[in-house]
Symmetry: C2
Subunit: 170 residues, 2 copies
């Protein structure tokens, strides 16, 4: 086994683990990964709007509407018209929704961070250097990814600027 292969395999394990985790998380909560992600976003502040969620997840409002529909049907969130601007609909998390989030296993990144911090200084430095090297090799552009490890949204976050040109292609 050469080292190029060894590194590819490791990368693949990382990808898989991240995906897998999102799936487990969502399943234990009785939601799909994407639904869970929506719930997480709502949970952050207790409420949110469809537009905000759509932007965070880089999907269309229409998609968010249907995802929220499902969460409403399951009693995870409720819709409520905003008093200040009645065009807006606030999506509020319910107790059940909050419990669902809380009962879910620790976010992957927490688990990771704990282990990471337990490492020795030199090893931390080595890992950061290596990962950044790999990231640079795979992805020439240096984007600003947020430090939250969450497979549930990478699937679409790559559509970076939907504002400019809505991809007229069929």
């Amino acid at each position: 086994m050469n080292r190029a292969d060894a590194s590819l395999i490791a990368i693949r394990r990382i990808l898989r683990a991240t995906e897998q985790f999102g799936r487990e998380l969502a399943q234990s909560a009785g939601l799909t990964p994407v639904q869970f992600r929506v719930l997480q976003i709502v949970a952050e502040r207790g409420d949110s709007t469809a537009t905000a969620i759509a932007q965070r997840m880089h999907v269309s409002q229409a998609t968010v509407t249907s995802l929220v529909d499902r969460l409403v049907r399951q009693g995870m969130v409720v819709r409520e018209k905003s008093r200040t601007d009645r065009r807006q609909t606030n999506i509020l998390i319910t107790d059940k929704g909050r419990r669902t989030i809380e009962d879910a296993p620790d976010p992957l990144h927490q688990r990771y961070v704990d282990e990471f911090l337990a490492m020795e200084d030199w090893e931390q430095a080595m890992i950061v250097a290596a990962l950044e090297r790999v990231a640079a090799m795979l992805d020439a552009k240096d984007m600003d990814a947020s430090p939250v490890l969450d497979a549930r949204d990478i699937r679409h976050e790559i559509r970076d600027e939907p504002a400019e040109e809505p991809h007229a292609a069929g």
Copy 2:
């Protein structure tokens, strides 16, 4: 910026780059990532069967049927009954299909391998060590991932043993 965050960001960039690549590839080939993946598998030997594809991709045969339908409609592959066992349908790649594969940009992993091999020995070793460390942190189990970096199938390859218990939750 602490190093735990830096490492998470790098991991995320790796995930994104992999996904992104699958998408670019698919767009330049005029196929979706999954369809392209099927075509790749058929292209490997020039032909394949639905079952083989289903196993490789860890999806059901029914799913493969509909994917192959689309590839047939686009003239990328043709179906042909096997002479030796007429239950089997061989899926043969066409010239167009082969050209599509060939015209597609280099597989991500090839690009990566080239760069990886260009590195100095000590750096290769460091990267392998770091990646394996991270993979171990994220994913306790040591699975046998193949040394092919390909986002297009990790999405579902994680369903390792659907035989046991099909997760009755609805």
